[in-house]
């Protein structure tokens, strides 16, 4: 299986990492031993613009599914980060303080946001989309929301 599903819009390649799960807002989780790692999709970073600030809940904080666990402040706007799952924040990516641009350059890797110890993993996993499902949603969004893409 290929590591990414991808499509091109204008000159941009937009990728969806396979094996991850996604919310409709474009937050992803990857499963790790006893925890999940959370980040934003390529589509979110591309439409949001250059990230200047990342604010995240501190380790030890609890969050409910769809509760705000942080914000991404870009040159254009502020993106509210809504948690894909309920749980406790174990780690917040400290590198993003000095290098918030990692969210843009490597959204599925070094640009990860937090890790969570999930409280309702089995139930809440059912509310998320597979990579294929999110990819289809992204294609639909591109048809209607393409003016948000930077750079035109």
């Amino acid at each position: 299986m290929s590591e990414y599903l991808s499509t091109t819009f204008d000159k941009f390649e937009l990728r969806v990492r396979t094996g991850y799960y996604y919310t409709e807002d474009g937050l992803w989780i990857s499963m790790e031993e006893g925890r999940v790692r959370v980040g934003v999709s390529d589509y979110v970073q591309r439409t949001g613009g250059d990230v200047a600030f990342v604010e995240l809940l501190k380790p030890g904080s609890t969050v409910e599914r769809q509760g705000e666990f942080g914000t991404l402040e870009t040159a254009k706007t502020t993106v509210s980060l809504l948690s894909p799952m309920s749980g406790t924040v174990e780690e917040a990516n400290g590198r993003l303080v000095e290098k918030p641009e990692l969210v843009n350059s490597d959204p599925y890797g070094e640009g990860w946001l937090v890790t969570l110890a999930p409280r309702k993993l089995e139930n809440e996993l059912k509310t998320l989309m597979s990579a294929d499902g999110y990819f289809e949603l992204m294609l639909k969004k591109l048809e209607t929301e393409h003016e948000k893409l930077e750079v035109r």
Partner: protein
């Protein structure tokens, strides 16, 4: 009597055309070169540096240069270094944005008020660096 060319600091913006931050880099450069430090600074086209224009390469190799990049991709700094220019300092618009979170430039073609203000703040910092370099 032989006259020597006065050294200037060359301020080089990225001038990225697709993002408002590129327009801010351009405006900040003009503010420095045409207003704040007129006469002791100059600018040149980044593309001329990269295309190997002899006169431009001579300019950036014999004078101290400051690059002003819009975003973290830092095209001006990268291209100047590749061409062997004398990079004395580099600035990124996004760093000034971090210190002035309310200023979010929306338009690219003609800068809006936030963009103008951001450019002005950045220009002041570049001008201070020019003073340091000319000491």
């Amino acid at each position: 009597m032989k006259t020597t060319m006065q050294k200037k600091v060359i301020v080089i913006p990225c001038s990225g055309i697709g993002k408002a931050l590129g327009s801010v880099s351009r405006e900040a450069t003009y503010e420095v070169v045409e207003s704040l430090r007129k006469g002791v600074t100059d600018t040149t086209c980044l593309a001329l540096i990269t295309s190997g224009d002899e006169e431009t390469l001579q300019l950036v190799k014999t004078n101290k240069c400051i690059t002003v990049d819009g975003c973290p991709l830092q095209c001006a700094e990268k291209n100047l270094k590749l061409a062997g220019g004398e990079l004395a300092a580099s600035f990124r618009v996004v760093d000034t944005l971090k210190e002035n979170r309310k200023l979010k430039p929306k338009s690219v073609t003609f800068l809006d008020r936030d963009g103008q203000e951001l450019a002005s703040l950045l220009a002041k910092r570049v001008a201070e660096k020019v003073d340091e370099l000319l000491k």
